[in-house]
């Protein structure tokens, strides 16, 4: 590419931005599914499950995402498992997001007033029926604003996948900069793209939070 900034550079950055979005979606879906299980584990009546889920959350929240990336790419390769940058980045993000979303959602499940459980119990609903038909629908309403808010963290954290050679937005910027040596210009463009991905999400999160507050049912 070389020379001054041209359309090819921008197309390359655009391609990188698409992978940033792609990796974010993988992280949200994978981490969301795993995080849901973590949240259920955290509120499970089984002590073992609660302990397992809590340990997982503590372990991942106490480890930098960068280290998880290194472990799943270089670490696994060193012991004979060669995985692609996409697989390593996707797995790392999933593991990371699951711990955080799991904890956010546990809070949302516990935020459903205790008497709702009792009312459901009094009607002879089984534990899983209480969870699925009474608690989760209310918890999902509570969970929507913080979950959308956390998506901002997901988008920004995908930039760490650049260290395992996954060509997302940050990595594509590094590659262009290596040929152009215009770090201020290139990284400014990248910052603007990240901002334009994240800003609508945080706006949406704030709006959801406001409407959730207005619609809060009057529970005595």
């Amino acid at each position: 590419m070389g020379g001054s900034l041209n359309i090819n550079h921008l197309l390359f950055l655009g391609h990188g931005a698409l992978w940033t979005i792609g990796l974010s979606v993988i992280a949200l879906v994978g981490g969301g599914l795993a995080g849901f299980l973590v949240a259920l584990g955290r509120v499970s009546p089984s002590r073992t499950l609660r302990l397992l889920a809590a340990t997982y959350v503590q372990l991942i929240q106490g480890t930098p995402l960068l280290v998880i990336m290194f472990l799943s790419f270089f670490g696994l390769a060193a012991i004979g498992f060669n995985i692609s940058p996409l697989a390593a980045a996707g797995a790392s993000m999933t593991i990371f997001v699951a711990a955080y979303l799991g904890e956010i959602w546990r809070g949302c499940i516990e935020a459903v007033p205790r008497p709702q459980w009792e009312a459901a119990e009094g009607l002879a609903l089984s534990r899983s029926q209480r969870m699925v038909k009474v608690i989760l629908p209310q918890a999902i309403r509570i969970a929507t604003p913080p979950t959308v808010g956390f998506m901002v963290q997901i988008v920004k954290n995908t930039s760490l996948a650049s260290v395992v050679g996954f060509v997302e937005l940050t990595r594509s910027g590094q590659i262009i900069n290596n040929s152009m040596f215009e770090p201020f210009l290139i990284y400014s463009i990248i910052a603007v793209v990240y901002f334009s991905l994240c800003y609508p999400l945080s706006r949406l999160s704030r709006r959801l939070e406001r409407t959730a507050l207005q619609k809060k049912p009057a529970l005595a």
Binding site: E118, A119, G122, S126, V134, P217, L219
Partner: protein, 257 residues
């Protein structure tokens, strides 16, 4: 499985046995003794009213009947089932016992109809259309037939409480528990809820209720149980409210309640 919408006559051989019997029940929350050897019985078709000061243990006693609290000693028998048994079939107990709470606890994400049809459909496998017919019937009973498709937040407190009673009724319980169901309501709304309960009593529903409405208790109770410091201090027909034999009950009814 009984899926009919009619009130099922109990085939129990012990038709004369009490529906609820507490015998020497003890219960502590940590160092605090809430129930200190509580005993009383509730006969079929009768209304038992639990009264007493806040903290006297009456609500805890009521919650023990539906095993929302486990007990430390004594026996509780409900519809021929030992509630204090570890192997108790909780589902069966709660099919027999309906409970209505002070804070209504309707499910805010469901319409009134869905609130009512949820348990009959999910627990008793009543087909959807039959469950809806049942909902219409119990709502009519509490005077809310026009609120079928409303959400709880659109109803007044009194209407929400009546809907909660209807939801409980739809499970066709053998005994109903009312835990201070009018304490969150103003006098006018209290009246409309009490009227519904009176109609249930007239229909022969077995009921145990905790209430602070002394006038209402006097009118409806077949048995009044006055609790004081975790014990049954005085019990008897509604007359004991007019002529109490212990100074504590005299003071309690004399305080203008």
């Amino acid at each position: 499985m009984n899926v009919s919408t009619a009130q099922s006559a109990s085939p129990s051989p012990a038709a004369t046995a009490p529906v609820v019997a507490m015998r020497g029940v003890h219960k502590s929350f940590g160092p605090l003794k809430v129930l200190d050897g509580v005993s009383f019985e509730v006969a079929r078709g009768e209304v038992t009213v639990l009264i007493g000061r806040s903290g006297s243990g009456k609500s805890t006693a009521l919650r023990c009947i539906d095993r929302f609290e486990t007990i430390d000693g004594g026996e509780i028998e409900v519809c021929g089932r030992r509630v204090d048994d570890d192997k108790l079939d909780l589902r069966a107990l709660r099919l027999d016992v309906g409970i209505v709470f002070q804070s209504y606890n309707l499910f805010p994400h469901l319409t009134i109809e869905e609130n009512i049809t949820l348990a009959p459909h999910a627990v008793k496998r009543v087909p959807k259309d039959e469950a809806r017919a049942l909902a219409a019937k119990v709502l009519k009973q509490v005077g809310l037939e026009d609120k079928l498709h409303a959400y709880p937040e659109q109803l007044s407190g009194g209407q929400q409480q009546r809907a909660a009673i209807a939801r409980s009724l739809a499970m066709q319980p053998k005994v109903m528990l009312f835990d201070e169901v009018t304490s969150a309501l103003d006098p006018e709304l209290t009246g409309e809820v009490l009227k519904v309960i009176e109609a249930l009593a007239a229909d022969g529903m077995t009921m145990v209720m905790v209430t602070h409405e002394m006038g209402f208790a006097r009118g409806i109770a077949d048995q009044v149980v006055f609790m004081h410091k975790g014990k049954v201090h005085e019990a008897g027909p509604a007359d004991i409210l007019s002529s109490p034999s212990t100074p504590e009950l005299a003071q309690f009814v004399g305080t203008g309640l």
